[in-house]
């Protein structure tokens, strides 16, 4: 390879890619905590994803909290103006989209948007910088973008899935939830000769509606994961090129900024839309 070789002697480009796609993992094998020998062990924790996602969440809470506590009406500072722009944007989006009554939705949307945005933003840090710092501290593998880890995105989307079910049951009752799953989109006949067909129609409705219900968290998480993973992989592939990497890195990074913001926005909007559909009164 042209200019790399810093991770201990010459290594092939395949090894470089594999090295950068490997999480820092800890797992329990035979009762002992083991680092990084966790292939195939389901009880594995990706320590680097957890670390960065928790740190970025705390940064978000601290930043917005400190602005809220020290907000001044007459002379807003730049940070306060920036935070106000974001909050206003989320407020408008939620007001336009959410047609129910809930005090949770706007803070939830704000958290999802800013947290996912910060996590995605880590992708713009040059590929080798943080892993090199990590190598100096004795950390062998470091993936710094939490949203390239399927576990993080699925964690968030499963939480949204539980919220969808909770809001459906809260606003329509448990009977309403079952009715929504079995009586849409084809209303089964309730009298006359068609009554024979009713169980089949209910079963058909149930299959369609449950696939549609399960597709929501699945597509939410895989959309975010796929976009971020592909972006990170292209950064790694460009980094292999040696001296030609600079203009390509710049071009891809400019495009990736759009994708980063868009994916955070989409995750938030779809969460609000799904929760709005769940809270709809007929």
């Amino acid at each position: 390879m042209a200019s790399e070789g810093a991770h201990g002697g010459p290594q092939s480009s395949g090894d470089y890619i594999q090295h950068h796609l490997q999480n820092l993992q800890v797992c329990k094998a035979d009762g002992e905590w083991v680092w990084n020998h966790c292939a195939g062990n389901p009880m594995t924790i990706n320590v680097d994803s957890m670390f960065f996602s928790i740190v970025l969440g705390l940064v978000f809470v601290w930043m917005f909290g400190s602005v809220a506590r020290r907000s001044s009406v007459g002379k807003p500072g730049k940070l306060q103006a920036f935070v106000e722009i974001i909050i206003d944007f989320i407020d408008t989006s939620v007001k336009d989209t959410f047609h129910g009554k809930s005090r949770l939705i706007a803070p939830l949307a704000l958290t999802i948007f800013v947290w996912v945005f910060f996590m995605n933003l880590m992708d713009l840090i040059p590929v080798d910088w943080l892993p090199k710092v990590g190598a100096l501290l004795g950390v062998p593998y470091l993936k710094v973008v939490p949203t390239t880890d399927v576990n993080i995105t699925f964690g968030m989307s499963i939480a949204v899935f539980f919220l969808i079910i909770f809001y459906t049951v809260k606003n329509k009752g448990f009977g309403g939830f079952i009715a929504e799953l079995t009586l849409h989109p084809i209303a089964p006949p309730t009298k006359g000769a068609g009554l024979i067909a009713a169980p089949f129609i209910i079963a058909f409705n149930f299959v369609l509606e449950s696939v549609s219900l399960l597709a929501k968290p699945l597509s939410l998480s895989l959309r975010l994961f796929g976009n971020m993973f592909a972006g990170e992989l292209i950064f790694i592939l460009i980094a292999i090129l040696g001296i030609w990497q600079l203009p390509l890195h710049f071009a891809w990074a400019v495009f990736h900024v759009l994708i980063v913001t868009l994916q955070a926005f989409i995750f938030m909007m779809l969460t609000v839309v799904y929760l709005s559909l769940a809270s709809e009164e007929h």
């Binding site: 890619i17 597509s219 895989l222 994961f225 796929g226 976009n227 868009l262 989409i266 909007m269």
Partner: protein, 87 residues
């Protein structure tokens, strides 16, 4: 073994290529309708643009899932591991 690697490479190409084809056609149609709508009623252009980006990201989703799976097969092919275990 060569068959498996060769066919995996073709599968990766099909995954990425067909995804890109579908998304390209879809985005082209979407962009055309957006421009028509904005030309008809310029005052609605910002609102239409927001909604257009919403649909762009939804279209991206399935193509990106395909790209993610394809890149996984390109760099961490599970079939090779299975083959080596079987040999």
């Amino acid at each position: 073994m060569e068959t498996v690697i060769g066919l995996t490479a073709i599968a990766v190409a099909i995954l990425i290529g067909l995804g890109a084809l579908g998304v390209g056609i879809g985005m082209g149609l979407l962009g055309g309708r957006f421009l028509e709508g904005a030309a008809r009623q310029p005052e609605l252009a910002p609102m239409l643009q927001t909604k257009m980006f919403l649909v762009v990201a939804l279209l991206d989703a399935v193509a990106m899932i395909g790209v993610g799976i394809a890149l996984y097969f390109a760099f961490a092919n599970p079939f090779i591991g299975q083959l080596q275990n079987a040999l």
